[in-house]
Every structure is written in C-alpha cells, then in structure tokens.
C-alpha cells in the first residue's frame, strides 16, 4: 500500500502529533512497510457478520454498584499539573476561543 507524505500529515494532525520534516519522511517509509505486511490479512476470507466482541475477559466485564464515592481530591492532582492558575485551583491552558 502506497503511503504519501500527505497521508502522514493527515493522520499526524488527527493524532495531534507535531512532526519534524525528517521524521515525516522516515515515518512514511515505516508506515508503508508495516501496512504492506499487514496486507497479509487480505488473503483471509472471513464468513459471518460484525467484528465479534473480542478482548473481553472470559466471564465478561463486571458491573459495579453506582455509588457516590470520593475521587482523587484536587489538592492531590493539581500539584502534578504543568501549569495551574494563580490560586492553584484550576489547570491552566492556552487560549481555546478567540
């Protein structure tokens, strides 16, 4: 499968990944090689419908009771933030809206 630099730029943008120019070229070649390999799956004719639910544990997922519980308190979480507001109450981010 042919992969172009435009393809790389498109998925990089979807993934919010900035890439240096030389990385774009290297990743284009890597993706082409890996996608060429996974094309192996094309030779499989799979009867039936839908993907099937795989990746679930053998006896299904557990439901838990919907209870009110204490979650991580802000004073534990905010110290790990890159930037907080002056009073230390909120995460601080660049301007989102003009």
């Amino acid at each position: 499968m042919a992969v172009t630099l435009e393809d790389v730029d498109h998925v990089a943008r979807l993934a919010r990944l900035g890439l240096a120019d030389e990385e774009r070229h290297a990743l284009r070649a890597d993706l082409e090689s890996i996608l060429g390999y996974v094309d192996l799956l094309r030779e499989l004719e799979i009867p039936g419908e839908g993907p099937g639910v795989e990746g679930l544990p053998e006896d299904g997922c557990r439901e838990r009771l919907d209870e009110v519980r204490q979650s991580q308190a802000a004073d534990l979480v905010l110290p790990a933030a890159p930037t907080v507001d002056l009073e230390g109450r909120f995460f601080r981010v660049p301007k989102v809206l003009d």
């Binding site: 393809d7 790389v8 498109h10 998925v11 990089a12 979807l14 993934a15 919010r16 990944l17 900035g18 890439l19 240096a20 990385e23 290297a26 990743l27 890597d30 993706l31 090689s33 890996i34 996608l35 390999y37 996974v38 192996l40 799956l41 094309r42 499989l44 799979i46 039936g48 993907p51 099937g52 795989e54 990746g55 679930l56 544990p57 053998e58 006896d59 997922c61 557990r62 439901e63 838990r64 991580q72 534990l76 979480v77 110290p79 790990a80 933030a81 890159p82 930037t83 995460f91 981010v93 660049p94 301007k95 989102v96």
Partner: protein, 495 residues
C-alpha cells in the same frame, strides 16, 4: 555489611525470614549492594528506592516478629516503571512523564504492600511498553546480564534483567504482546502472563487495554506462583477483572504431570527455527514425557496472521489511550507563548514521545481513520476471533501447549532497530496468547552456543495458570537451567 542473601530465591528467602534465619533488613541491603555493583553496566533500574526499601524492610521485621505470615513479608521486589507508585516517580520510559509522581498506587502495588513486599526500585522498559528489546526507552537501553552487548528483550527488559542479576527476588512486568515472556526467555528467568482479567490493571499506564496484563518475573516457577497468588483477584476499579476465586497456586506445584496432554503446535516449529532453540524445547518436552505427560500434535492454523492482527489492534488502542498525554493535566508541557491549544498539544507530543510511540500512534490512527477502518481495524478484530478459536479447538485435545518463547536467543543491541518490522516479528510466538486472552509462561530450558538462555513457552486454558506453573515447576525439579547465574555476577564478585 556485604552479604549474598540476594542470591536466595523468593521461596528460600521467605522460609529463611519466617524462621528467623535471616533478617529482612540484611536481605534488602544485599539487594541494594548488588544494585550498586551491577547497575552501571546492566541499567535495569530507572529509580532505586533505597530509603523506602529500608523502611519497608524494617516494617516487615516488625510484622514478622509479631508472628505475621504475609505471603511476601520482607521480599525485595522491583516494579516495571509503567505501574503507578504513590510518591515515587513513574516515567513509563518516556520523556513525557519523566518527572511524574503519581498521587496513588496501582492495585498490584497495594496488594504487594499488604503482603509485606519491599520495593527496591522501578525498572526500565520500552517507552509505554512499546518494544521487544528495551531499546525504545527514553532513558537508554538495559543490557542483558548474560551478555552486555545483547538486549534483555522487551518491553519488561529492566524487570527481567534485575531478576537475572539478583537485584531483587522478584519483579512485576506487563505483557501486551510478549513483553513478560520474551525478556524472561532472553534473560533465563521465569515470566508469567496471566489470563486477561486475572490481575487488575488499575494504576497501570494503558497501552492496549484489550491485551495488557500484569504478571511476575522470577527465578523459578515456584517463586512466580507465590507472587501471582498475591496480585491476582477482582478489583472494582478494573471492570475486566474476573470474580473467579484465586486458587492457591503454590499448592498446585505437586510435581505430578502424569496424564497431562501437552499439545505441540506445528506452526510454532517452522523449518527455519533456530536449531539450538528447537533442540532445547524438544529436550524439555522429553523430560516432561519422562515424567508421565503425553505429547499431542496440534495445529493453530491462523498463527501466521497473529502479528499482523496485533500490529493493527494494539496501535489502534494505543492511539486512543495515549491521547491523554496532552500537556494539560500532568506530565510534560512544551509551548511557545503565542501557541494556541492545538499547537501546544502538537509541540508537547512531538517533544515528549519517542520514535516508536509516534510510529504506533500514527499506525493506529490510520487503522481507525475514515476510509480505512473496515479494511484494517475491523478485519483485524475478526481475525482475532479466528486466532482465539484456534486455541479453543486445540484445547479440546490437549491440556496445555508447549512451544519456543522466541524464535532466537537474545540479539545484539542495535541489530533490529533500523527495521521496525523485523523488531515486530520478534514476538511471533508470543502475540497470539494476548489476542486470545490465555495465560502464557516462559521458563529457561537451555543455552545456545554463545551461552545465551533459551526460553520454553507454555500456553494454557483461560484461568488455568495452575497447570502452567505445575508443569514448569515439574521441569525445574529435573533441571537446573533456572539456577544458572550470568557470568557478569562472577566478574562483579571478584572485583
């Protein structure tokens, strides 16, 4: 005081601690001493928690003196640095979390603490567990204690190398496509990937959530049984954990494999298999047959599709899981003063992630993107079902499967870094177990002509870790592969 208590296996150390023959503080000091001696060359650990180890060892002594019999009281352990430890930085092998100190413990860490384990360090890994050699760590590779020019395997290479070099009695690793078993194979240790749902992932940085499992890396099957008994069990914070009772895995180690039907899948013994690996694995089978097991030839016809399936599904899940590293709430942020939010995301993720993580994020985003979803992601999901059905069919005629863990022994540092696909194919025998969710174990079964360890892989039915451990333990009663010591240790001692 220098001592060699770190040479004791977990079970031997536990027995000696219980009867007061040795002290937990001396055992911890011995491991810390060993760490000081070998770490400059092995580089298995990203963080050494010496003060914490001494405090926990002192606590263990108090508990032992009070007559407590916690399953791992005083046992020095290492945790893969993908597992959150409250107050101890948890890097995931990535620049993006280089200075992250979690405000909470993973479920497995809570259980280990409850059982009295002593944390001596956090181990190196491929960034976010993405790799088969440990060369994708942002902090430099770990070296294989058996040959410092070789990789220890990945992604739990630091955990495996630490156990092989006797820096701890046991370690935890994680296995998404072989990341416990391949390093165990390359370092002559015992590594167990439990059934999907057996061990809670709460507090584990997610890579591919439908595949990730936490498990022990130890020097023997008996040691692995002791650790699994502690970390297994239901956790309301991980809804995929099973409510099935946790068996006493140590009680399963009877040495009796009479009548056990051992399936030998022909797809795992291709013509091009390394002859030394084939020979060692066949020898191990012969020993088990000598003990009364019955070999059965079986087929897993979709094996050849497993790697391709994995390298669509795991990156797809990773591309979603790693979206959380965006520079907003924790970890690295890189931004220019005039950046908008999108530019801040892009700059942070470019600076924070290494090449392999970027490769997999892009691959996964591709597989999930409009126009390609059906041909890649959906097709891979359906192939996964076929891989699983292969195992269901095989387990109708046998009780467990026996195969090599890796197609080769440890390869040289740098040997496969230029070709991502060649690196991916390192996992050709381990990946199917993750796709199917079954448990898998690797134990040493010999050495090649370069004196590098060879791993035997056992694969079991869902939730039948006990049979894997019993079989591996039976093999270890008749062999001493697991007792061999890397030559590095002899050199270190004579200094």
């Amino acid at each position: 005081m220098v001592n060699d208590l770190c040479e004791l296996s977990l079970v031997a150390a536990r027995d000696a601690l219980r009867c007061g023959e040795i002290r937990a503080l001396d055992l911890a000091e011995s491991c810390l001493e060993r760490i000081n001696t070998v770490e400059p060359e092995v580089r298995a650990l990203l963080t050494v928690t010496a003060e914490r180890a001494r405090a926990e060892a002192a606590l263990a002594e108090t508990r032992l003196a009070a007559g407590e019999r916690g399953a791992l009281l005083g046992i020095p352990i290492v945790l893969k640095d993908l597992v959150a430890t409250r107050g101890v930085r948890t890097t995931c092998g990535s620049r993006i979390l280089e200075n992250w100190v979690p405000p909470y413990d993973a479920d497995c860490v809570e259980r280990l603490q409850q059982a009295g384990a002593v944390l001596v360090g956090k181990s190196n890994l491929d960034e976010f567990a993405m790799g088969s050699s440990n060369e994708n760590s942002a902090f430099g590779p770990t070296h294989n204690p058996w040959d410092l020019a070789c990789v220890p395997g990945g992604s739990s290479g630091g955990s495996a190398a630490a156990v092989a070099a006797r820096e701890c009695a046991a370690a935890l690793g994680t296995d998404t496509g072989g990341s416990i078993r391949l390093p165990a194979s390359f370092t002559g240790t015992c590594g167990l990937k439990p059934t999907y749902g057996r061990v809670s992932r709460f507090g584990l940085a997610a890579y591919a959530s439908s595949l990730d499992q936490i498990g022990p890396i130890t020097r023997s099957a008996a040691d692995a049984a002791a650790v699994l008994s502690v970390i297994a069990g239901h956790d309301p914070r991980d809804s995929t954990t099973s409510a099935r009772p946790v068996p006493d895995y140590e009680a399963a180690l009877t040495g009796d494999v009479r009548g056990l039907r051992i399936g030998v899948p022909r797809e795992y013994f291709p013509d091009e298999l390394n002859p030394a690996v084939r020979q060692a694995v066949e020898n191990a089978l012969a020993i088990l047959v000598e003990r009364g097991a019955e070999p059965v030839e079986v087929s897993l016809p979709h094996s050849r599709y497993a790697v391709a399936t994995y390298y669509l599904l795991a990156p797809a899940e990773a591309s979603s899981n790693l979206a959380r590293y965006d520079g907003v709430r924790f970890g690295l942020r890189v931004a220019d003063p005039h950046d908008d939010l999108l530019a801040m995301y892009q700059r942070t993720r470019d600076a924070g992630f290494g090449a392999e993580v970027k490769r997999r994020i892009l691959l996964g985003t591709w597989a999930l993107s409009s126009g390609y979803y059906d041909a890649y992601y959906l097709k891979a999901q359906r192939t996964r079902r076929l891989v699983r059905q292969d195992f269901e069919t095989a387990f109708q005629s046998c009780d467990l499967l026996l195969a090599p863990t890796g197609a080769t022994t440890a390869f040289q540092l740098g040997e496969r870094t230029a070709d991502p696909l060649a690196m991916y194919l390192s996992d050709v025998f381990t990946i199917a177990a993750n796709l199917a969710g079954i448990p898998g174990l690797s134990v040493p079964c010999g050495f090649d002509s370069k004196l590098l360890p060879i791993g035997l892989q056992l694969l079991g039915r869902w939730f039948d870790e006990a049979s894997l451990l019993r079989t591996a333990d039976a093999l270890q009663r008749d062999t001493d592969w697991h007792l061999r010591r890397p030559p590095l240790l002899k050199t270190a001692e004579t200094r």
